[in-house]
Symmetry: C2
Subunit: 249 residues, 2 copies
């Protein structure tokens, strides 16, 4: 009897384990969308009425704000004329798999951000915000801020605002900034307030003072202590460069 | 102009990235199964006709061997009298999420292995095989081997066979072994062949010879070389212990 229990014990560590295949859930749902098997709804998308089959169960499971409303739930065809088919396909792919194919967001993050907001897809929304954040430039930041405001994309809004504050001098000269003053005037006043307070705080903080950033010599620092007025004059003489560094943390 | 490009450059590394929420795909599908929203088929399970709602799209996406056949695809109710409801729920949970809740397999791995084989769910099959492999004992190994043969579970079959060969002396005395000789006589002859060849190979391999395992002294090893007959007698005198170590690698 003791041999058996000893034997069983000695086996425990030595039996080789079973190889378990990786999960195929995402792939299976991707295939379902791709082959449209068992589809119970067809989206008729864009001005050219492209037909894209889908499955109500997946749409119900995945969209907190239903794509299918009480009125459209029983329909077998749903018209979506205001959507480009290629955008709609990427949206559906996200709904089925919770992911976006590599590079797909490059040119449609702004459009998909709207769709994500509309259907409550917070993860897709964040992915779009992330893509737009990475593509911020002085020229486009104001247009992207407008999108962020309209789609309640708070992370993107915050990043855009801080980008604008940092490069306020350059941004204020762009056409986007001009457009923003017309479409979102309340935002301009908020930005003005923020730039002013940042500016003031920075000047108070010695480590951000332009004479540090610009590498004032020891002699000039000495001058600062002994003849503050002359030092101020030196600072003023640096002109635009001081402006440049005002918001550059 | 150069300031703008420099500014844009200096921003690249410093803009904080957007926080992206983790995927909720599995959770969303779990909830869909749980609340049954938009269900388009109901399984009527077990002798007490428990009603379990489901979604054809998910079943189609996830089962290589369709649960829904051409005959049952259009039905809104499908009878599954030969399934226990608790087992069927775990099966559906796997189909929706590709995972099994902790501990759920402990008592139903053998039943679910059959279902997994029936519907081509290779991952579930491997999870069941793994669970059964971990629960192998001298007493149950023959019954588990019978299950492995019936459900074409090759990994489990191989592990069970090698377990039986290793503990052949003990296993051959169990009731499960007796059952196996009746239900799968062809397996017994395969096992016999395998035990014989293992045994022979082990005895040929000096490092597995029982006099090494049993710690024969240098003197005894010397005896072996000089008086082989006497050494054989010593080996024989160890009796059951030699048997014990025959298949113990």
């Amino acid at each position: 009897k003791s041999i058996v229990s000893e034997a069983t014990f000695s086996h425990k560590g030595s039996v080789k384990h079973v190889t378990i295949p990786a999960t195929t859930l995402i792939y299976d749902l991707e295939m379902l969308l791709h082959n449209g098997m068992g589809s119970d709804v067809t989206f008729v998308v864009g001005p050219e009425c492209e037909r894209i089959p889908a499955h109500k169960a997946i749409l119900i499971a995945r969209c907190p704000v239903p794509i299918l409303t009480d009125e459209t739930m029983h329909l077998r065809e749903i018209n979506v004329p205001d959507f480009r088919p290629d955008y709609f396909r990427v949206l559906l792919h996200f709904i089925y798999t919770d992911k976006i194919e590599e590079g797909m967001l490059d040119n449609m993050a702004d459009e998909l951000l709207s769709a994500a907001q509309r259907f409550g897809l917070t993860r897709l929304k964040a992915l779009c915000e992330d893509q737009l954040t990475r593509s911020l430039t002085v020229e486009n930041v104001c247009d992207i801020l407008a999108i962020a405001i309209d789609d309640e994309a708070d992370q993107l809004k915050e990043t855009s605002c801080s980008f604008i504050c940092r490069f306020s001098k350059e941004v204020s000269k762009t056409e986007g900034f001009h457009r923003l003053t017309i479409t979102h005037p309340e935002m301009i006043s908020q930005l003005f307030e923020r730039v002013s307070s940042v500016s003031e705080r920075k000047w108070r903080d010695k480590s951000f003072a332009p004479w540090n950033v610009l590498g004032a010599s020891k002699q000039e620092h000495k001058k600062r202590r002994e003849k503050p007025n002359e030092f101020t004059k030196w600072v003023e003489s640096t002109g635009a460069w001081v402006e440049r560094f005002k918001f550059n943390d």
